[in-house]
Structure formats: C-alpha cells, structure tokens
C-alpha cells in the first residue's frame, strides 16, 4: 500500500485532488436503453427517471478482488465440473480471449463467471420448464481468474437455442452469459456471447435492444481454428472490454487478496 502511494504523482495526493484515477464515462450510445419495448420484460423494469450522474469517489473506483485459492480446480471446465457418471453431452468447445480495458490493456486477476444452457437448450434451473432434457452430467456454470495479461479460457459444450416468451415463436440464439468485475465496482458488467453464423442472432429482441451494430458484432465470437484441439475440441475467441481509467498507475498491482 505504501509503495502505491509513493508512486502517485503529487497532484493526486493534494487535498482536494481526486483520490484515485477515475473511470472513463460510459458511452451510452453503444448500450441498450433501459426501456426497450421489443424486449417486453424491460417495460416494467426500467427506471423512468434519468440516471443521476455522479463524479467518481473511492466508492466507485475500487471494487472486490478475488484469489485463485477461492476457486476449484475444475471451475473452468464445464465438461467435467458436474460430471456424475459420464461427460457432458454436446459439441466440445473452448472459449478464450482477453478482458481488456478501453485503453487496450489486459485486466489481470479479475474474476470471470459464465453460465449457459446445455446442448439441448435447457438450463439446470428450477424455473426452467422447457421440454428439452436436463443433462445429468452438465451443471452449466463456471468461473476463472484472468492471468497477468488479462487472458482467460474455459472448456464447455456448445449450448443449444431455446424458446422464450416474448413474441410467440421467439427463440434465443445459442449464447453464454458472462459476468465481469474488472478492478472497480463501476466496471461491473454482465453480457452474453453469441456464436458466429447463428441465424437467430439477427432476429433476437434482446440483441436488438443494442442500438449500435458494431457493438452487436463485438458480442459474436468467431470460430478460432488455431486454438482448436485437433480431433477433440473446437475453439471460439471472445474478447471483452471494460471501462478504462484515466491513469494506468495502478497496473500490475491488483493481486488477489
């Protein structure tokens, strides 16, 4: 801690100066509005008042940190982490990539959590009643920490599409949910990854709430044959970006606690 303080330019330490480098302001033009009637559930769950913009204090520029010792050996292997009497059924895939900030720097030691339906499009969840069967050997969730370069990877099966009640005959494209922390609570983000070539992407109301076509394209993971394991597992590449900081003074100091 003392090291950190001594490395900070005096301007940051003066009384009245910012306590800690702030995050860049969020670009809402590339984010879904809260109220997006094509996604019907958003209608009653979207605030009507404008968000109150606040300057960042230490409450926003810090966030929880996690250590490798909190995770299990198989937490990033969805083919094995719920295996009972066999392996999960479905196309075996690796998903990998970098968690970057808007400055293009990898975010090290940050928790990445993911969850998904099984190959038939069914979730292991007490509220999911879709008729596709539960896979007894597939839980459908995992987590990992990024390495010192912000790189992450995990192994899973490719999830299936499934129907949902929005319009009659609405189907979600195959997707994996991601939860990201970064190193500040103001970076907290949940998103979804889609698969290159899925025809359901362009008709999905949840995707269409995003007003920016390029932002949509960035949620679609391309097939990555170079990272595939021959005769074993295909790979998809998915990079994600969290808000940047005004300063990178803090880099490499975010060890897990």
């Amino acid at each position: 801690m003392n090291d950190l303080v001594s490395s900070v330019p005096p301007a940051f330490l003066k009384d009245g100066a910012n306590p800690y480098p702030e995050l860049y302001r969020r670009d809402y033009a590339a984010q879904s509005p809260a109220y997006a009637p094509i996604y019907k559930t958003s209608v009653l769950r979207s605030p009507r008042n404008a968000l109150l913009s606040i300057d960042h204090s230490v409450s926003e520029t810090t966030g929880p940190m996690f250590g490798q010792n909190e995770l299990g050996m198989l937490d990033n292997d969805l083919i094995l982490n719920y295996a009972k009497d066999g392996e999960a059924i479905g196309p075996r895939i690796i998903v990998h990539g970098y968690i970057l900030d808007e400055n293009g720097r990898g975010l090290p030691n940050t928790l990445v959590e993911f969850w998904q339906a099984n190959a038939g499009g069914r979730y292991r969840h007490k509220n999911d009643t879709y008729l596709a069967p539960i896979d007894p050997n597939f839980g459908g969730c995992g987590r990992t920490l990024t390495d010192e370069n912000g790189y992450y990877y995990f192994r899973t099966i490719r999830p299936g599409a499934y129907p949902w009640r929005n319009y009659v005959n609405s189907w979600r494209p195959a997707h994996i949910h991601f939860s990201l922390f970064g190193n500040a609570f103001a970076q907290r983000l949940i998103t979804q990854m889609y698969f290159e070539g899925d025809p359901l992407i362009k008709v999905c109301p949840i995707i269409k709430t995003i007003p920016d076509e390029e932002a949509i394209q960035r949620l679609i993971a391309p097939l990555d044959l170079n990272a595939s394991v021959p005769d074993d597992t295909m790979a998809y590449r998915f990079d994600m970006v969290l808000r940047g900081r005004r300063s990178t003074l803090f880099e490499n100091r975010l060890e897990g606690n």
Binding site: L4, V8, L13, G16, N18, P19, D27, A30, Q31, S32, P33, A34, A36, T41, S42, V43, L44, R45, P47, R48, N49, L52, S53, I54, D55, S57, V58, S59, E60, T61, T62, G63, P64, M65, N81, L100, D101, E102, G104, E113, W115, R124, D128, G139, C141, H177, F185, R188, I190, T191, I206, I210, I216, R218, V241, L242, R243, G244, F250, N257
Partner: protein, 207 residues
C-alpha cells in the same frame, strides 16, 4: 482524427437464470466448493454487525423475485479493502472483503445482506461521504446493471452533508436511498426496498 479507444462491451440482461452462474444454490444445485453469498462478515470482522433486508418492485408494484443484488462497501473505519483506497485514516480489515451478492427469494421476494455498518468515506474535494453501501442490481428485463446506494436513517447529520444526497434535488427522491433501522431478536435490521419504476422510484446513478 479523434483518439482511438476500445469500446466498452455492450451489456446484456442477466436473464431469468442468472442464479445458475452466480448463485447456483438458488438455482437448485450444488457445484462449487466455495460459493459467493450474502454474508460479508465473520466472527472477527470489526464493527457493528447489521442485516440489510428489502424487496425489489417493478413498475406495477409487483415483487421482482428473480433479481440479483451485489453490495460493495467500506468497513467500519470507512476503508475499502482495495489498494486503490488511499485514505489516510483507519485501516483495512483483513476479515472483511466488503463485497457480497444476494438474490431476491423466489417466493417472498426478500433479499438480505449480513454485514457491518460502514464508516464515513472520503469524498471529492475534501468532502466527507456519509456511511453508505454501493449496490448493483441485475435481473431479467434489466439491460444494464443499475447502480444505487444505501444510506442509513440514523446517520442524519452525516447524510445532511453527503455530497451525493445533496445532489438529489427533491427530498422525496433522496429518501428512496435511506434505509430505516429496526430491532429484531437483538439484531439491527435496516430495511431497504428498491423500486425500479414508478412512484417512489429509487434514485439510480450513472456512475
């Protein structure tokens, strides 16, 4: 030519099955050895132990029973367990990360956090922020996580000079961020309901 930055990834809803990934016990199964939950404290955590309890309502006044809420807070000294906290007073409590996650119950719609009451935290320009807990709320139908704060009704004086509360023009809206204390079985419970939309809509922040 403007400077090129990468763009923040688009947020997408956490969906109805968020529990699978972030709270598998609530989804109905057990998979991880170590689960993240709504208990932020251990027996050795410094400070006054409290319970935060509340419900989440939608624009029709109905309970939102599938929300996930995360809390991030300073310890009893007002210090965050993070090297970016450069406050000169108090100290980090090694037994307190200051973070937890809770889900609204599928039946009752109630969420709870077991934590300690945070201390005052430095604000910008020498100002002091009243004790508060930062919240982030996701659910089906919420396209991007909503940020708000819990303040404490019994911190009247600190609340009066809090720079964030003072920035909320209408008192009625300010009051949506104030949790009220009560006693039950010798424990202090602060009630904090979150209203996503409509009358008494909670103040949410663009952080």
């Amino acid at each position: 030519m403007s400077v090129k930055y990468l763009k923040e990834t688009a947020s997408q809803t956490a969906g109805p099955y968020v529990h699978i990934g972030l709270a598998p016990h609530q989804a109905g199964f057990d998979i991880f050895q170590n689960n993240f939950d709504n208990n932020l404290v251990s027996a050795t955590t410094r400070g006054a132990q409290i319970i935060i309890e509340g419900r989440v309502f939608d624009g029709s006044g109905s309970l939102v029973r599938d929300a996930l809420i995360e809390a991030w807070q300073a310890n009893a000294d007002g210090r965050y367990n993070h090297p970016g906290d450069r406050q000169k007073t108090g100290s980090v409590d090694p037994n307190f990360r200051g973070w937890g996650r809770a889900c609204t119950d599928f039946e009752s719609g109630i969420y709870r956090f077991y934590t300690v009451k945070p201390g005052c935290v430095a604000g910008r320009e020498g100002k002091v922020q009243a004790p508060h807990i930062n919240l982030w709320i996701v659910a089906r139908g919420i396209n991007m996580g909503l940020n708000t704060r819990i303040y404490f009704a019994d911190e009247e004086k600190a609340n009066e000079s809090d720079p964030i509360l003072r920035g909320i023009e209408l008192k009625k809206r300010r009051d949506t961020l104030i949790a009220k204390p009560s006693q039950k079985d010798g424990k202090t419970i602060y009630t904090f309901d979150i209203v996503l939309q409509g009358e008494n809509e909670t103040v949410f922040f663009d952080v």
